[in-house]
Symmetry: C2
């Protein structure tokens, strides 16, 4: 029996104690963060699956884990040691969590009826009611999740969300992170904390809200112009906020603030209280108040502690949009960050392509090399997400992360897919390049070029104001769709400013939910990734990713017209391109991009590196 | 005072009688038909505005008419003789009907308060309540319209919908149409009436509905494989239906059915009852029944006569989707209809281009010529909508319809925009061509070519199953958007089979309402128009329109992939094209289309016409 099965069995003992029929372990921390601190990795502790998305469901006799297309292959591998069943979300004939639970509970009813007809009356009283209890830590799920469960499971269920049972099983659990908080200066943020608070209060007024409850860490960090380090890759700190028209309370471990920051917060009328006290204070909100909460970004336990007499404004947290629209200072800084990142990544490309086959390069030491080159840049903070350095068939595993076990040596053939990013004081980067390490098959070149066409077409889009990523997505996919190909992920996500590398509301994809479309209109100042891909399982993966900044180009009698500025400054590997597959316009766009990359990077290159850069950005 | 102002004043007398503060006159007949019979043209009778979309609102001291971008110019002209204010829907700072009514009512309150403070107590009791009555003929609006009114007008309003006040003013009103009904044979419809009824009942079962009420004339005509002629351009007949699992009742003027058709209907268990009796029978539906009604396609009065105890299934009427997905026989017929239409329209193009400047050609006689050429084709039934034959600056009026007054002579210069269509027994066509009558300015050629690029890009789209016209729209607009240009209408609409030339649910446009997206997924067998345009007020208009049939192209491990077959078979006028603006792919698509047009049409052309056809479809 694997350690995971053992841990799950320990949990089952507690479940039986509490009469919980199914226990759900989600990926989230208490803040719906995308990445979570070590303290919160309960799902990983119980299942061994390390992907960034996945939900584990445990009943008395079964366990199953749901994850999406990015993680099918990884999860298959990591779950192979345990008895946990992999549920591939989005695939035909794969039950949803709700369908799975419904079936499990119906099985129990069936068996219990069978037992009834014999003589065992011990457990009967419980099952006779056909009532089932589902448990989870209410701080790790959101309200919509619970609502969905209750709607979809067509049985009488009750919820037990007040305890963290996995925490009781997890003996050697890491402590909650408490890293120091630091300030991001006005020269980087372009907007004072006071001004942001005022803007938030204006938005609260517009929706007749008296109080706003925040639990999303990047929203709090953005609002306060503070950054932390409690979660890997996300420079945020564990906290909550409750804000009304005159006061603001920040719930966090006081030890993480310097005296200077504490003084500054005091000056802005922001009080600091202990992290967990939010669960006490939220229950004390005046019952005649209207409370603005974004059910997508606040945990179930918090929602349920708000006095039931309060009026709830469940709308998109106003900070989401304010934060997504980068101001001019942020945009200028982002350009600087991308220049630094472009220098580092392009030097990496030079190193990689001139050394592969000559010195020992593996996925892991390539990632280390790239990190070193980035760290040489002034203002470097750290990686913005777990680097993907995926050679050959590893490239087809969309969120592959090399480990000592999986690490392979790069040879002078095939592709290296490298999806990495960094935080600098001047902003956050996220770039994917697919490097050609040697001779390619024509099929490989075609794949590389088709994906590149999608990237170029999206980057060059010109569109009317009002358009969303839902409308634009086809530009990136059309070259693949024309050939019966596709990729199983979105085309783009919003990117934070020295914050989460994945942030909303802007995104690019054809499957955006209808009720979210309005929120995803592309505004001037929004930064989104442009990352079409193509993955041939067990063969190779291609992805080309740049960050693109939405700008207004002109206003005519026909309306306002928008377009993108590409921020990322790294050549696409020309050796991967089959020029015959590109249109004249695509060739023109590519050449213009490469000319611009050369112009920006050349001052930082010399000697052989500069000669190589000229070649790498030459007109085709 | 114009006759329109006089008629409105007569209506105001009746309004005062009934204490109605505002009376709304919509365009619809009792069936939400797009085109309406003469009997129903109350809005035109009162305002003089002949457009196919517009709503007239009359208060005691004002009158205003709302219409959309297609009709701004036309309405401006037609309303100029009366005191009716034009409200350009969709433009900034233009009040909606609800805002307009709210303001009007608030004005009354203000004035009434002013009166109060003096001594007139006569009218006080009415206004003191701040309660207002809005009137309209409940048969000419749908339920959503009324719901919207009530939600948006933030005052206490009541509805008076039981009387047709305009009918009482309209002395010389035409009779309700009662044209003979005819049968469309199986060889054309590809599906028997019995089979369609069974399919409808299956859909009713899926939604647990006992009864389905139909008021949309094209749905009824499709279901019964019958056609009529009660409404210009729409081969439908005035009727309603109430269908349960065992019975079906058709409410229509019995005189319009031949004995043969009556016998056949009887054989299929379909009873005929008088047209107006539907308003009696619907009120008698058993209160324990579940009634399927599509609130978008059934009038307010009908909805409100359904016993309130009945359960209502307000969903898209299942026939909408069944009718939109053409079966193989319908598709084959549609190809035949388009061959016939292609022959007629291309012969018209030859006649036009070889005779312009030599013989007297006007908009009206050009339209007549085209109609004659179509009428020469076997199986011709009639025009599928009011032909648009718009020369020069008339082309910029999107739904221009030449009249004796507006008619102009075509000269050997500029563009003739011709948007026309026909019904044949084999199907319905809708085609727009912009003909070059002489030398063009480079700006005109550029406009012609940009719009053509949009048409070619959309026609050549390849996309994954699940995609809608919302996702595809950018393909048609991108060439214009790149140049800060746009057109103020959708890119495409569904087309009926010997039915309404505009039918849903399929359509192409970036502004489709979020809640309708799911219904507009493009299915194999759907036929949609592809008609980007560009309109320069007082200069010229360009539109290129073909009908495109959605087909499944292949199924791969990445999904099902779809594309379009272009049905329309008429050359695009090569003299309008600036080849330097086309990409290689676009040139290739255009050449392939022209080769196909030539191959299909050549057998029907000879002599000079054939030589000309060769030139008109030559490779560029």
């Amino acid at each position: 029996m694997s350690i995971y099965d053992e841990r799950i069995n320990q949990l089952r003992v507690l479940m039986k104690d509490k009469n919980i029929d199914a226990y759900i372990v989600c990926t989230q921390d208490f803040h719906s963060s995308e990445y979570v601190g070590e303290y919160f990795k309960e799902r990983e502790y119980l299942s061994g699956f390390t992907g960034s998305a996945g939900t584990l469901v445990i009943t008395y006799n079964k366990a199953a884990l749901w994850t999406d297309g990015r993680y099918y292959l990884q999860a298959e591998e990591q779950l192979s040691v345990s008895n946990i069943e992999l549920m591939k979300m989005g695939q035909k004939n794969v039950d949803t969590i709700e369908q799975y639970l419904t079936k499990s509970f119906k099985d129990i009813i069936k068996k219990s009826n069978a037992v009834d007809s014999s003589c065992d009356n011990l457990k009967k009283s419980h099952y006779e009611l056909n009532k089932f209890t589902i448990g989870f830590d209410g701080r790790t799920v959101n309200n919509n999740f619970v609502k969905h469960l209750k709607t979809k499971i067509k049985l009488d269920i009750s919820i037990y969300a007040d305890e963290d049972l996995v925490g009781q099983v997890w003996k050697d659990r890491p402590l909650l992170s408490a890293k120091p908080v630091w300030e991001l200066d006005f020269g980087y943020t372009g907007r004072m904390r006071e001004e942001k608070l005022e803007a938030l209060r204006e938005e609260m007024e517009k929706t007749d809200s008296d109080i706003c409850v925040l639990a999303s860490l990047d929203d709090i960090a953005w609002l306060l112009n503070l950054r932390g380090n409690d979660i890997q890759y996300n420079p945020v700190f564990l906290s909550y906020m409750i804000i009304d028209m005159n006061h603001a309370v920040l719930y966090a471990n006081e030890a993480i603030f310097s005296n200077k920051i504490k003084e500054q917060l005091e000056l802005t009328q922001i009080a600091i209280k202990p992290y967990n006290e939010v669960y006490i204070d939220i229950a004390k909100i005046d019952s005649n108040k209207t409370v603005l909460v974004d059910y997508d970004k606040i945990n179930y336990r918090l929602v349920h502690l708000i006095p039931s007499e309060c009026k709830i404004q469940n709308i998109q947290n106003p900070i989401v949009r304010m934060k997504a629209i980068k101001n001019n200072i942020e945009c200028d800084n982002m350009r600087k960050a991308h220049l630094k990142d472009g220098i580092a990544v392009t030097k990496f490309m030079y190193w990689l392509k001139t050394n592969v086959g000559k010195i020992e390069i593996t996925e892991l030491n390539a990632a280390k090399k790239l990190e070193e080159l980035r760290a040489n840049q002034e203002g470097y903070i750290g990686a913005s997400f777990a680097p993907i350095m995926a050679y050959g068939k590893h490239g087809a595993i969309v969120h592959y992360c090399a480990t000592q076990e999986s690490d392979v040596k790069l040879e002078k053939k095939g592709f290296l897919l490298s999806d990495t990013g960094a935080h600098y004081l001047e902003g956050t980067t996220d770039i994917t390049r697919t490097y050609v390490l040697g001779e390619l098959q024509s099929e490989e070149k075609a794949a590389f070029t088709l994906v590149l066409r999608g990237n170029l077409n999206l980057a060059s889009a010109r569109f009317k104001y009002g358009i969303t990523g839902l409308h634009l997505d086809i530009l990136a996919r059309q070259p693949l769709w024309e050939n019966g190909l596709d990729y199983n992920h979105g085309t783009g996500h919003g990117v934070g400013y020295v914050l989460n590398v994945h942030e909303g509301p802007n995104c690019i994809g054809w499957q955006i939910k209808p009720d979210k479309i309005k929120d995803t209109i592309l505004e001037e100042g929004m930064i989104t990734s442009n990352e079409p891909g193509l993955y041939l399982t067990n063969e190779f993966g291609i992805r080309h990713e740049n960050l693109i900044l939405c700008k207004m180009l002109c206003e005519t009698e026909y309306g306002k017209f928008m377009g993108f500025e590409t921020l990322t400054l790294v050549p696409f590997d020309l050796e991967g391109i089959d020029k015959t597959l590109l249109s004249d316009r695509e060739i023109d766009w590519l050449n213009k991009y490469h000319q611009y990359v050369y112009k920006m990077l050349a001052p930082y290159f010399e000697g052989n590196e500069l000669k190589w850069l000229q070649m790498a950005t030459k007109m085709i």
